[in-house]
Symmetry: C2
Subunit: 594 residues, 2 copies
């Protein structure tokens, strides 16, 4: 059907337009029939405007408006008028006017929607995902996508201003599984061969540095075929950045500038830089996490010194075995009931702790079943070390160092939750975590893995340990942490083929394996690779935090479920056998027919 | 190794820096040893600067510089000086100065490169692709990627300013092969099911319109598993755009504004708008192509009127069978030898023409073996119709209408080539081709296909023919043509589920098939879909034309070969059987082992 182009959006008419003839196109948000007069709130991405059908203005329009229902698409022509005194709607920017309709064209009809198009709805997420085209009509979701849009533009503008070059790297690349599983794409032209979707453009961006591009960025889809945890997606978006001839300081400065822009343009906040930096070791010892949430304090304290001569068997054991005793104070929780304390103990045990030592601080001293094992001096030293006040609860875990610190970190988070220390309006906290170990020991497979990835450079002063003690080698790696989430991670890379070979060796790759997987990069390194490094932002999580959302699915237009399904179009789906034949593959277990 | 951060790039030092202490980091481009003094041209992305090692400035640096070879990576410290009179290099922005080196650090060594790092090299493209990290160091390639970068930013800035929202659509979607083949991705979590990589985000962008996003854009990778023609890539980039509540005119205006920006910011040219429009029928009749190159004229003329009463059997046949007689003038080619004419005839026959009628225009009239079949009046009318002048060559093809027009179009291109009508500096020619047929008849399969895609709206006045005569139905579709290349194409879409169902019916899809493939879109259309339409630019070709290149591979960082290979990393490659097992697939013909 024919219709007139809108003269205005549904979000822009105000008193200055009174008397103007206007055309609006949009959706029927709500409809009220007050006897002779019909009121429609018309909605589009830009806002809501009330339009009014009065029989004495246009009998025909009034008559036609009777069929209108929620989510019908209409085009109206009319005249803007001031709303009658007392009927203004102060919650709408357009709330002082409405439009008296002369003419209406119904552009499309709509069935009754399975949920209302409004922000607060109580429906299962699966239904929202199935009807994503309706879910995305809700202002909350529209705002999330608009915020995401803004963040793309802010990031690119900033990076462009610093001479970064946007380069697209291939989506169909080579499979080099190391860490996560690759998604594979069978090749039709090369039987038995496969492309892989990139887990990140890591090797390509390093190649671009070898190619002299100097500064590269890309906002790019990456893929991991993992069993999805709550906040993971099989395809996700990175802001991917790489620079040549730099060291860590230049990366920090560049990233902090970008974060300043995000803070200002999304939150209208001034970010103070340089950002605080915590070493990995300090972050673990004080917050029990390599991505500590600093919106609340609750620091942990290592108590090995306090108990170095303790006769308490549990502490003795930890100390002699090179373990750790870590304590923290839960302020004002000294009145926790036995039931609450058992509950906390259960929380720790479920996570794998042997037990939880809890101590109530009273005016008259510490009180706990454990106290009988500690000397008075130890009790005093403990109180002092943790700066415990009467009314506080002291919590102690002990055991193997890294595991205990991690458990303590989770207990810290749990106490913050119980104490309600994170408010909606808590000031966001951004920091660097630096000096990560280069390697991570895996108990199950009894080998070292690269904590970041195998292209991360060791600290120059640690290279000597690459062949003697991998546990001592620190990486030139850094993570950016916002409100307890890792939002970006990166490193200075190895740019020397000998050191890269040494790294692959340390990771247990044979020369042949290293060559098969990464030969082209090692080869490139032999033709004049510059020193380089970079970083990658997890854009979905970043957008989620800036949007104040709690699920990345709420900042992704068409997310998948935890089992990798798209509920709207039902992907993945079956395909024809002809398609499979052309790709030279067959479903396993199916008849090997001709 | 440790090195100092550069104070300047290799492209920015000029006479105003004379006397400054500077640090430069970059590659050794060339090295000359003039007895006591060594000259190095240092290169980075930003330019070239000459640095000079003199023993009396620093013996050590001079000594160390002796090992430097092309493509070594170095960091130097030194003082900027004016070049000695007569040694300036006017081809370089930095050509009036050089840097006297105090200190040099070799950051990396380089093997001898398989080809020189300079613009004009004569090597097989395969070698360039294998060593892409070196190929991309050539200034020409760096400029191509910088131009591409600029075009991304120009496009996004323009679309952002018009309230378009950038939304990422899924890469892992549902397979709906219609036209080209899909790349498939086996699902690990859902045995026997597959994702497909998008041939375009068409359905998603329409869903976004149903979702009320109003204006969407995305610069996005798309995928087609086709046997690659010279200028195709299995993965390619689109600027994808969709708008609601608009008609064709709003699309034209929006696109013309974008092209204006590209012209100005890439070519520094002022594009005059509105752009000329040709209907599909006119484009075919006059230029024999739906993407005519208007940088040269050579129009074709339909001669059916001229020969409507002809007794010449060949013309009679064409006319009675509803065919066409199409002629054109090759100016000044009246002196073509018989050999040249036979050659042209062969050209046409190879393309599938029955033959070529050629006629020399002389002062005394037309001359050709064919003339004996034409009356004097017909000869005069022919001369007038084609506006032929003495010395011209007249060329005529006749037969089935569309095939003949296409052949004539190719002959027109060929004549332009022979007459050298397209110069490097020919003014670019941009135009719209509009009013495409909605359907295209395929002789082989004896059925109609959608000429654009099955979501294209028919002209409203032609809907009545949807059930009677598909050949009469014109589409609300448009192509943007630059210098004979289709750089963008789009349409107003169907937004009504009944009309969409009618369209699928016309294309021979059963309800069940339509529902299986596009049910989610049809379903979405029932909940208030707005009128909408859009366009998609082939970004690689667009960048190629703006860069003045002749292959899209020269504006893609890491392109694939015609057989879909990446020569640098040798993708696609074999994968482990464990990987295939997890994906529940097997290579066909391989042993069905356990």
């Amino acid at each position: 059907m024919y219709f007139k182009q809108r003269t205005h959006t549904c979000g822009e008419l105000t008193e200055e337009h009174i008397g103007s003839e206007v055309v609006l196109n949009g959706w029927v948000d709500t409809r009220r029939d007050l006897g002779g007069v019909i009121f429609i709130e018309m909605r589009d991405r830009y806002g809501i405007t009330q339009v009014v059908f009065e029989p004495h203005i246009s009998e025909q329009a009034h008559h036609e408006s009777k069929v209108l229902r929620s989510e019908y698409v209409v085009s109206i022509e009319g005249v803007v008028r001031k709303r009658p005194e007392g009927t203004e709607n102060t919650t709408l920017p357009t709330g002082n006017i409405d439009v008296l309709v002369n003419k209406v064209v119904v552009l499309n009809v709509a069935k009754t929607t399975p949920f209302p198009i409004q922000d607060n709805i109580d429906v299962h997420e699966d239904l929202r995902l199935k009807y994503r085209f309706l879910d995305l009509r809700r202002p909350k979701m529209q705002n999330a996508l608009l915020l995401r849009h803004k963040m793309y533009q802010v990031a690119r503008k900033y990076l462009d201003s610093l001479n970064f070059v946007e380069v697209e790297t291939p989506v169909l690349m080579k499979s080099t599984p190391e860490g996560a599983r690759d998604f594979l794409v069978p090749s039709r032209m090369h039987k038995g061969r496969f492309y892989a979707l990139p887990q990140s453009p890591q090797t390509y961006k390093q190649i671009l540095m070898v190619a002299g591009m100097d500064r590269y960025f890309q906002i790019v889809k990456c893929f991991r075929d993992e069993d999805l945890r709550a906040d993971r997606q099989p395809e996700f978006t990175q802001i991917d950045i790489e620079m040549s001839f730099i060291d860590t300081e230049q990366i920090y400065e560049m990233v902090e500038g970008l974060m300043k822009d995000f803070y200002k343009q999304v939150w209208n906040k001034d970010l103070v830089t340089p950002l605080p930096r915590l070493t990995y070791d300090d972050a673990m010892e004080t917050y029990g996490s390599d991505k500590p949430d600093l919106r609340f304090d609750l620091p942990m304290t290592t108590l090995n010194k306090v108990f170095e001569n303790s006769t308490f068997r549990v502490f003795q054991d930890s100390i002699t075995k090179g373990g750790i005793i870590s304590g923290m104070v839960a302020p004002g929780c000294g009145d926790y009931t036995r039931n609450q304390l058992d509950n906390l103990t259960d929380f720790c045990k479920k996570l794998g702790a042997g037990g939880l030592i809890w101590i109530r601080a009273k005016e008259e001293g510490l009180e706990s079943p454990t106290m009988k094992f500690l000397t008075e001096d130890e009790q005093k030293a403990l109180t002092a070390a943790l700066d415990a006040k009467p009314g506080d609860l002291l919590l102690i875990l002990t055991g193997k160092k890294w595991k205990t610190l991690q458990l303590m970190g989770m207990l810290r988070q749990e106490m913050a939750r119980r104490l309600n220390l994170i408010k909606e309006d808590s000031e966001p906290k951004l920091l660097w975590v630096v000096d990560f170990p280069l390697f991570e020991w895996d108990e199950d497979t009894k080998r070292y893995y690269a904590m970041h990835h195998p292209f991360t450079s060791p600290r120059l002063e640690d290279i000597e340990y690459m062949e003697s003690d991998l546990s001592r080698v620190k990486a030139r790696a850094y993570d950016l942490v916002l409100n307890g989430s890792e939002i970006a991670g990166g490193s200075i890379r190895i740019h020397n083929s000998d050191l890269q070979a040494k790294m692959f060796q340390a990771l247990g790759l044979t020369d042949a394996e290293a060559n098969e997987k990464f030969g082209f990069l090692m080869n490139a390194f032999q033709y004049g690779a510059p020193p380089h490094g970079g970083i990658a932002f997890g854009f979905d999580r970043l957008a989620m935090i800036f949007a104040g959302e709690h699920s990345i699915r709420d900042v992704i237009a068409f997310p998948k479920t935890a089992s990798g399904m798209s509920l709207m179009d039902e992907a993945p789906a079956g395909v024809s056998d002809d398609q499979l034949k052309e790709l030279h593959i067959r479903i396993r277990g199916e008849q090997a027919a001709k």
